[in-house]
């Protein structure tokens, strides 16, 4: 089954010719309209005329998350200011988010990519699609919603409600497919078991789309067994429209990356040099079809590799392996994006807190923050420590929206983080 068979099965030469044409158009528009890229092109001495072959993309500048944050809130608009119809943001590590603007055509293109992806996984208009991702600024809600609607499914915009409500919707409307965070899927499986509900008999679920957080093949299997469904991996990021950048087909063997919309490179994250197919490195993406805010060579910080072999499904767009790492340390706990830096900010605002801390995530998303006291953090009174502990819990809750357990420990008792302090211990077996 195909949503857009012609585009999805273009011969490689035709696909690459289309990519080159769209890359040239993109670079021309950026050179004419976007001061950020005009300056970068000038620094590198490169311009639209230099893009003669696809490999010439390597002459173009990278764009980083820091660039997008620095330009916030104006974005890198390549259209008139009244042209965009949609704004999404992705949360920032240092307080500032990244703002991504969509034109009407961009909204449509994103929906088409989702439609391709869902149909590739066997979704039809007969499906009842419950989207359990957060709606709002996060793309996992609206962007997926538009795509599923485009396929013709009945879409239930459930959002991240309580398990009780999710279950009620599934039972009342006969949900057949869900879009869900893998960690929440495991939690929800547990919930169903406690309620004495057997999803195979009591629900009509047949497919689950998981994404928005890295997970392992083992987690996929656990979800499949728990619900009796097929689980499809997906990849996306707000900067590249959100979900729908790459999706698994029914083969469930790597995610087809829609190469007519995105030019993909795998680079060595340390040197920026290109890596051959099959080798693991950082995924770098260039938008090829975006109007409102084209982005060149975006450093996703996600680690993957390209599967160059043709897929039995017939799609010619190459696949990428599941993401095996992230260069930034974002944690997703109970569906909330948490950056260790947010926790650090709170801790470091308290004079009684020392330099070292350790963030531990275990079990079903239980967050513990071990905090070393500073030398002046202890006056001999247990009441003051208890008050400090409560204060830290409340301040962290206000900052990260998840209530952590806070353990106070003496100075020097935590392992000293070396170099790039890795102060996160994620013991979840996802």
């Amino acid at each position: 089954m195909f949503w857009d068979q012609e585009s999805e099965t273009l011969s490689r030469p035709a696909l690459e010719a289309l990519q080159l044409q769209r890359l040239q158009q993109t670079v021309s528009r950026l050179a004419a309209r976007v001061p950020f890229y005009q300056q970068k092109f000038a620094e590198l001495g490169v311009g639209p005329d230099d893009i003669r072959r696809l490999e010439d993309v390597r002459r173009l500048p990278f764009t980083t998350a820091a660039d997008l944050r620095a330009i916030y809130p104006s974005g890198l608009l390549a259209v008139e200011a009244d042209e965009p119809v949609r704004l999404h943001t992705s949360s920032g590590t240092t307080g500032k988010p990244k703002a991504i603007f969509f034109s009407r055509n961009d909204v449509n293109t994103a929906a088409d990519m989702i439609a391709r992806s869902l149909v590739a996984a066997g979704i039809t208009r007969a499906d009842v699609f419950q989207n359990m991702m957060s709606y709002g600024l996060f793309t996992g809600g609206l962007v997926m919603h538009y795509g599923a609607e485009r396929v013709g499914c009945l879409v239930i915009p459930a959002g991240p409600g309580t398990s009780e409500r999710q279950l009620m919707l599934m039972q009342d409307f006969g949900t057949t497919a869900v879009h869900i965070l893998p960690s929440y899927a495991l939690y929800f499986a547990n919930y169903l078991e406690q309620k004495g509900i057997d999803p195979r008999k009591d629900l009509k679920l047949r497919k689950a789309f998981v994404g928005a957080e890295p997970h392992t093949e083992q987690t996929r299997k656990r979800i499949e067994e728990a619900f009796g469904v097929d689980v499809y991996n997906s990849y996306g990021l707000t900067e590249m429209n959100g979900p729908g950048v790459a999706f698994e087909c029914e083969q469930k063997a790597g995610m087809h990356l829609w190469e007519d919309c995105f030019l993909l490179e795998i680079i060595d994250p340390a040197t920026g040099e290109p890596l051959p197919d099959g080798q693991r490195g950082e995924l770098v993406l260039t938008t090829l079809k975006r109007e409102a805010m084209p982005i060149l060579r975006y450093r996703t910080r996600d680690i993957t590799s390209v599967i160059a072999e043709p897929c039995p499904c017939g799609r010619t767009h190459r696949r990428i392996h599941r993401i095996t790492g992230r260069s930034d340390d974002m944690l997703i706990i109970r569906g909330v994006n948490i950056f260790p830096q947010q926790i650090e900010q709170v801790l470091m605002s308290m004079p009684q807190v020392g330099r070292n801390y350790l963030i531990i995530v275990e079990g079903l998303d239980d967050l513990t923050v071990k905090v070393e006291l500073s030398d002046r953090g202890f006056d001999g009174q247990v009441e003051h420590l208890a008050a400090l502990q409560n204060q830290l819990v409340e301040k962290l809750k206000a900052e990260i929206w998840v209530r952590p357990k806070v353990d106070l420990v003496p100075p020097g008792s935590l392992p000293v983080a070396e170099g790039k302090a890795k102060r996160v211990l994620d013991k979840r077996s996802l």
Partner: protein, 142 residues
């Protein structure tokens, strides 16, 4: 000085902590005269009255423990029921917050250890009521 200092040691609530701390003090030839442990969930504070304050402090710090000196007021009360209550009332009437209070009987003498924020105020209140706080030396002679 009529205030007495205790050694207050931060302890994590895990097995063997009490033994470890008392051994450090014993190895430094520091005698324990009195001890109390205050717990709060995952951690607690052990408070010691010791004969050699500086030596005890140093020994514990050398082993990486977090130690603080805690100034307290020590008074002797008549060894009879209700004595503690009357001291607490006295302080309360004079708006002294009693953070902690513990007591023991040594050689038939009833001793109260009072932890307060307002040391000077508490001392004058006690003295006016005829309860003179003991010095560290007097404490150790008990």
């Amino acid at each position: 000085m009529s205030a007495t200092s205790l050694l207050a040691v931060f302890v994590e609530n895990k097995p063997g902590q009490t033994a470890r701390i008392t051994k450090i003090l014993a190895d430094a030839n520091v005698d324990l005269r009195w001890v109390t442990i205050a717990n709060s969930g995952s951690f607690g504070v052990m408070k010691f009255l010791v004969d050699k304050l500086e030596a005890g402090l140093q020994a514990l710090r050398d082993k990486g423990l977090m130690v603080s000196l805690l100034e307290v007021l020590v008074v002797e009360t008549p060894n009879r029921p209700g004595a503690l209550q009357s001291v607490a009332d006295l302080l309360g009437r004079n708006e002294v917050n009693l953070a902690n209070c513990s007591g023991f009987v040594a050689n038939n003498r009833a001793i109260l250890i009072l932890e307060v924020q307002e040391l000077a105020l508490a001392r004058s209140v006690l003295e006016k009521a005829g309860l003179r706080p003991m010095t560290q030396e007097e404490m150790l002679r008990l």
